[in-house]
């Protein structure tokens, strides 16, 4: 048996049952082979549903299953770690024409993908506000901060933080859709935190997470919003657990 041919037939229902496959009756049976086809499709779709539960609720189970099937046809997991499957799913959703009526869907998926990464990220104690305060003021502007392994920023033209939050309980909460939002995802200890932050704070956070100095990041933030509150922003991000420490 050629396993690649067998697997190709699993992934493409239009292909016949592979040669060499039989049953106790001495003949191939499409319904039997279909059990394997179904197992692959259902288990991978289920893995995506577990990683993108809000996306699934937004579009409904049937639509999600169809979208997942289309994604699976383009991208199989690259490892047996199912919680890591779907890193490229948000980009796929962005280009999935039947979902075009929900323009915020892809960014919601981006938020959920980052949530899972944060959930499984390494256990590292974040930089504390006290440690940051211990830094000599004249060194602050040139200092760079190492991102915490769980920290991620999702910036969207839509209210993805509010949408995500509204779908955390059994009842869907109130939400607006069209307000741009930036969401900071962190995990200072074991619980993943999802916080909507102000636009200038997001510019600041994005620059810091890219490895720019605190001074450069603050300049960019002031350029966005002259009322940017530097002290509140750096203390806020640090308190959320965005940084692992000072970059060396």
């Amino acid at each position: 048996m050629d396993q690649n041919a067998f697997a190709s037939a699993l992934l493409d229902p239009t292909l016949p049952v592979p040669g060499g496959v039989t049953s106790a009756r001495g003949e191939a049976d499409a319904a039997r082979f279909a059990v394997y086809r179904n197992n692959v499709a259902v288990s991978l779709s289920k893995a995506l549903g577990q990683r993108f539960p809000v996306v699934q609720r937004l579009v409904g189970d049937d639509f999600f299953a169809g979208m997942a099937r289309a994604y699976i046809a383009t991208t199989l997991p690259d490892s047996p770690l199912m919680f890591a499957y779907g890193d490229t799913f948000p980009d796929f959703v962005a280009g999935f024409a039947p979902a075009a009526a929900l323009p915020y869907l892809a960014d919601t998926a981006r938020l959920e993908a980052q949530w899972t990464r944060a959930y499984h990220a390494a256990d590292i104690a974040p930089l504390t506000v006290e440690a940051l305060a211990g830094l000599a003021p004249e060194l602050l502007g040139g200092a760079r901060l190492a991102p915490h392994p769980a920290a991620a920023l999702v910036r969207s033209a839509y209210s993805v933080g509010m949408i995500w939050q509204a779908h955390q309980g059994d009842e869907v909460g109130a939400q607006t859709v069209m307000t741009p939002e930036s969401v900071m995802i962190t995990r200072p200890e074991f619980d993943v935190r999802v916080h909507v932050i102000a636009e200038a704070d997001a510019v600041f956070a994005a620059a810091l997470l890219r490895g720019e100095s605190i001074g450069e990041a603050a300049t960019a933030a002031f350029g966005t919003d002259p009322t940017f509150d530097f002290g509140r922003a750096i203390v806020g991000l640090t308190s959320l657990g965005a940084f692992a420490g000072l970059a060396s």
Binding site: G20, T22, S23, A28, P80, Y119, D123
Partner: protein
């Protein structure tokens, strides 16, 4: 026989349960009388976070069976070295009392298929699987148990009986066997074999663990009964009967209740474990190692 991996201890010959995230708080709060917990290794291969905190709490209270579902030991392609390294790290971190994997394959050139796929039983596949089991045991540094599969199809190429195939791998590699009694029932019904006769021929002296699970039932294209290894319900009466028959040959063996889909409230799992424990208590305290299978 010591079936432990690195701790030198074996799993107790009692009923164990699959560990599900939704039950962890309840388990830690109530410390129920469960012989051991089993986890799918791949779910604990993240860098950190709540899964490792939970597994650390569980292993400080209960023996652990580490059950892999992603090694693809039966694959034509080479074993995934990165995955083997993750498995080794997990074994070293948690020192499970048992480590097991499947006689199956899951990989395509374009990626991982996330299903346990069947392979024909031939001289070539026997050599390949034996070499892979050798490599796994050497790399991970632990003896493994290899699980008999549940299958829905047969291969025209197969020339070796499944039990002979499993026993030859065990003989070649020194690995033990995980006897999944539900898989025996599923495959026996699907291929018109006698499940009890299969158990009667199984090399019970090599069995380090038993699995029990619920199956689904449908029919194939000709209307023949087709059982599906679904892990989504209570263990069927006929599988418990086959288990009782198995224990008559094996004596008490660590026994896992597998329930991976549509997971119920924890007390439902405990009731299944209690059922299995009653059968374990009634089992003879010896192993029937007659070589009847060679007759």
């Amino acid at each position: 026989m010591n079936t432990g991996t690195q701790s030198g201890e074996a799993l107790p010959a009692r009923a164990g349960l699959g560990l599900k995230p939704e039950h962890i708080d309840e388990i830690i709060a109530t410390e129920p009388d469960v012989g051991f917990f089993e986890v799918h290794a791949e779910n604990y291969m993240g860098d950190g976070g709540a899964p490792h905190r939970a597994l650390t709490a569980i292993t400080s209270r209960y023996p652990l069976s580490l059950h892999g579902v992603g090694l693809s030991i039966g694959a034509e392609r080479p074993l995934d070295k990165a995955h083997l390294a993750r498995l080794k790290a997990l074994v070293e971190r948690y020192r499970p009392q048992s480590f097991s994997e499947h006689l199956a394959w899951s990989t395509h050139e374009s990626g991982f298929l996330n299903d346990l796929l069947p392979l024909p039983y031939t001289k070539a596949t026997l050599e390949r699987v034996s070499a892979h089991v050798d490599a796994v045991q050497q790399t991970v540094g632990a003896r493994m148990l290899l699980e008999n599969p549940s299958t829905y199809i047969l291969f025209e190429d197969s020339v070796i009986d499944e039990i002979d195939f499993l026993e030859a791998i065990a003989e070649n590699t020194g690995c033990g066997l995980l006897l999944d009694v539900n898989n025996v029932m599923v495959s026996a019904v699907n291929h018109r074999l006698d499940a009890f006769a299969y158990i009667d021929r199984f090399p019970v002296e090599r069995v380090g663990e038993i699995h029990l699970a619920g199956y689904d039932e449908t029919v194939d294209g000709a209307g023949d009964r087709l059982l599906i290894d679904a892990h989504n319900s209570t263990v069927a009466d006929d599988v418990f009967a086959l288990y009782r028959h198995t224990l008559g040959r094996t004596g008490p063996v660590p026994t896992l209740i597998e329930w991976d889909n549509d997971v119920p409230a924890f007390p439902v799992l405990l009731a299944e474990a209690t059922h299995a424990n009653q059968m374990l208590d009634a089992a003879p305290h010896w192993r029937d190692v007659r070589v009847a299978r060679r007759a």
